[in-house]
Symmetry: D2
């Protein structure tokens, strides 16, 4: 079961087209990643610096399948997958929940993917994932 | 009792100083306003357009009392207050929750205030608040 | 020659890692798209609504090659390419300019790609690009 | 003569009301502050850390006078004013430029004010402004 993050679309997520600006989908996915890490006991704010590493995003991809508007309720699924000793991928699915009282089901609003590489802060060279992070990725 | 909105600080709320960018505090306050309206049955996305009005923010003020970092848990209180037949004020208090296991209490991280004016979409002239909105403001 | 957009990295583009947040690269690319359209006499704010179409982004991809910090000067190249009668791709390259007095040259900070589909506002069905937009895409 | 910063409103500055989100006006003012500092030879990214100080914003105020839409050209004036040995105020005026060919003049779109306090990074106590910053503030 992937980790799921519940979120409401805010006014500041939207643009003049009346819907969520495309780059905001990725920011929302990153929120889900932060929540998934925190739920696993790996807080983004301190875990990486405590381990002397940074884990920047090297690549992102997204498919925007359905517009989202202010007030929409979404669920963001996050599933990590190992790429190598020092890198991993996160697969995201953003689901739009049905309006209250609606007979329709959840609809997929977006799919996204980010690729993360672990780098030693001191040397700027690739480094194996810290064990606790590796455990989260491999257990995902 | 003012309405309270719970929120975690996200990485995208922060800036290179490592803490929440000052303008983001106001965006977070607006989220609390949206949640307070929704809880009162007045969804921002449709209520105003259904009533043929816009309710833009004419003024804002904020005092930044304490930095907030990624992962911090906050509670945002929203209290509306009537200014005139066609305008109202929202008073916000952002409280930083203590870290789990900490003996200290909540600390106020910011105070903010926004002033809202109701305008008829068609004529662009000031108009009395729609009754349901007035009821929310007066009951606040 | 692709269109080029010059930009300075602002404090609000950065996150607590001290560098531009990954999703902001895509927002910056969209600024370059807006400027390229405006330079071609096709202002985003009015062109699409005047033609009864919307042109949402269906997909995005980005490779983050080099961090960008507050104050960095960048140049964003935009090159459109036709996909079909009703869709096109934008290829972006973000170049980091050398610091004043530096002997080194420009370095590529990111590559990105967005895919755009033209849809009739009234019917929500795919529609051929308006001629002026098609001319810009094909001349790119 | 106050420093002036020229800017075009981007799509990502707007919200579902079709105009610039109120908190973005403050982010845009901060861009003007960064540009004014850079023009005075005081780059935000390095000047403060080089001097062992942080200069956080303690208060902000804004009056939103006129909506701004995607593509609008603005000019942001920044005028610093000394408050005390360790603090200063920035006064901002955002002017909306007339559309090309329009006979009307610039119109004030917003007025804003931020209050900045200089704090020693090491001790977290108030400290006198570094001389170069004081010179910029006093010469403003």
């Amino acid at each position: 079961m992937p980790f799921a993050y519940a979120r409401t679309i805010h006014f500041s997520d939207t643009d003049a087209a009346g819907i969520v600006f495309f780059a905001r989908y990725l920011a929302i996915c990153h929120e889900a990643y932060e929540e998934a890490l925190a739920a696993a006991g790996l807080p983004l704010a301190t875990f990486f610096s405590d381990h002397g590493v940074i884990v920047p995003i090297a690549k992102s991809e997204a498919a925007y399948l359905r517009p989202l508007a202010c007030g929409d309720k979404i669920r963001v699924e996050v599933a990590p997958r190992r790429l190598s000793e020092n890198s991993f991928v996160l697969e995201f699915a953003i689901w739009k929940l049905p309006a209250p009282g609606s007979a329709s089901g959840e609809k997929r609003a977006a799919a996204a993917r980010t690729e993360h590489v672990c780098i030693a802060s001191a040397t700027r060279e690739r480094q194996a994932l810290p064990p606790a992070l590796a455990a989260w990725v491999d257990g995902g």
